[in-house]
Subunit: 335 residues, 2 copies
């Protein structure tokens, strides 16, 4: 709770000197004794510069904000972890919000965004709740990054190669000999989900297969959605022998539902998921997946959000390609 001028007084110098010592101002010429004396007082009184005063003066808060839809989803957790790490590396702290409490116009988060309390903004996906935040961020000309989907007019969009992920997953099944391959999407409306679906469709067409419209179903990104999704899909298209699931969490739910209907993996049916998590490796049978650079996505988003001069309206696709990890949930179709 000591202030700059208290330290200055105690050390017998002016506040300016204290400030410049604290900030390691290279151009400062002080005698070694003065410096030592000041440092000693700082140490004794455990002085730390007031964050608010500093950010009022500098017009920088040292904070970037990340707003996501669901904090508990393991897939997003990976993104969050990446963003946190990268933000820290850029000398920023990470403010974490949920989309749900952004909407009411009452949240502290919104006040901070509107009032310069954050220097950069990362938004996961679209949603009307996000739009006000986006607008405010735009007014402040703060670097704004959209994760995986959304309108890149007002912000930079970072994404992964979702089409390629869909293709890789589908090709793996095709190579095993499957032909009746379904797709469980995450959300019909979101770009990244559509991308994965396109990849699946492309790979199918390239193999000379025209998937029927009911070969694609809704899998969501939760265990429950995945379980429900696979049940509905197999009801609509019982001839399927394999499925690409757009999200690994949904895929786990799907395998549970499959297990419950007496369908054994991979003998009776094959499942491959997009996204890798530790979970996929420790499931039995372990899930074959297409690993996506989720952590990198978070890191890249934070990196962009930490740079004042970020160009807006750009779409950045991560260079790191999706990677096929074959485990035990995929095998040739029987018969």
């Amino acid at each position: 709770m000591a202030t700059n001028s208290e330290i200055a007084k105690a050390a017998g110098v002016s506040p300016a000197v204290v400030s410049r010592i604290v900030n390691r101002d290279e151009t400062l010429r002080v005698s070694e004794e003065t410096r030592a004396r000041v440092l000693k007082v700082i140490e004794e009184r455990d002085y730390a510069p007031n964050a608010a005063a500093r950010s009022l003066k500098s017009a920088r808060a040292g904070v970037v904000a990340l707003v996501v839809h669901d904090l508990t989803n393991p897939v997003y957790a990976e993104i969050i972890a990446g963003a946190q790490k990268a933000a820290a590396r850029h000398g920023k702290a990470l403010l974490l919000g949920e989309a749900a409490d952004l909407g009411d116009g009452q949240s502290q988060m919104e006040d901070l965004i509107g009032g310069g309390g954050v220097d950069g903004l990362i938004l996961q996906g679209a949603g009307t709740e996000m739009d006000r935040a986006l607008a405010r961020a735009a007014r402040r000309a703060m670097p704004t990054v959209l994760l995986q989907s959304g309108d890149a007019k007002t912000a930079t969009l970072v994404r992964m190669d979702d089409e390629e992920a869909g293709r890789i997953a589908t090709r793996h099944l095709l190579e095993l000999g499957h032909r009746d391959i379904g797709f469980l999407d995450v959300s019909g409306g979101l770009a990244f989900s559509q991308g994965r679906a396109s990849g699946w469709r492309e790979a199918m067409t390239a193999a000379g297969i025209e998937p029927a419209t009911d070969w694609i179903g809704h899998g969501g990104n939760s265990f429950a959605d995945g379980a429900k999704g696979i049940a509905r899909l197999l009801e609509a298209a019982p001839q399927l022998t394999a499925v690409v699931v757009g999200n690994v969490v949904a895929a786990v739910g799907a395998t549970a539902a499959l297990h419950d209907r007496g369908c054994r993996l991979p003998e009776d049916f094959s499942v491959i998921a997009i996204h890798d998590t530790d979970l996929a490796a420790y499931l039995r049978p372990a899930l074959s997946v297409v690993r996506m650079p989720l952590r990198l996505l978070g890191e890249e988003a934070a990196r962009l959000a930490c740079h004042e001069d970020a160009t807006t309206g750009e779409v950045i696709t991560l260079a790191q390609p999706p990677e096929l990890i074959v485990r035990a949930s995929t095998a040739p179709p029987k018969g």
Copy 2:
């Protein structure tokens, strides 16, 4: 980017009026026309009060910080989600940090804590990295909350009834007829883990069984640790017919390892875990667990961290009791 005085000038009033209108000062007497005029200008210019200036004046940042060890662990994710929600409800934004980047003394997070940039602090577990943060928080007399373990001298400790959780889990196995029941702990040094182990030991002793020292093993809180842990435990004590795992993530790893050594659940071996997650329900066999109020833990921690007048040095055990959820990974021992 408009400022108070710009708004004031544009509306033909003084900054004080603008401030009091923005802050909904009830005692303010202004004509309806003046108010409307000011509001209109605020709307037009999209004015939002500067967060730094406000917090400099009020000595409150509107932010609480949460520092955890591992952002990607689903168990902690639940706590984080609870904390985020409760903080938002108390009008605070949540700053999320990882213990790892707190240590170097360079982090923005630390600067914020030391410089009054956060109003309250929640720390997960102990660790030397945390101690400096703790000390700084103490100097600022900011409400500080420890999650699940740590020294409650300088902070408030919130915990769950870990002993009871251990007891409940163990009693469930005892009631099924098991007698040779092992325990896989999270971390020998952490209070909550010791509590769960004590519960296990108590329940065993109460049933007239004296567990051998090698019936307790290290399970950690990751999939890999759980897998390794169960292997080592069964090597040391092959007569075990069931195990209580102190963390559900480790338990999933353990079931994978069990599966791999040809040991079927629950016919050959029973596993019950502490903590519930969706994952446990969607595993096959679904995991029997003792559900702990993780979300509530986060909420309570945030609630305390948001209150200036939080008493320190208190240990708060959540009233909500652990709850037994029997699923498919536990059954009577064979033979």
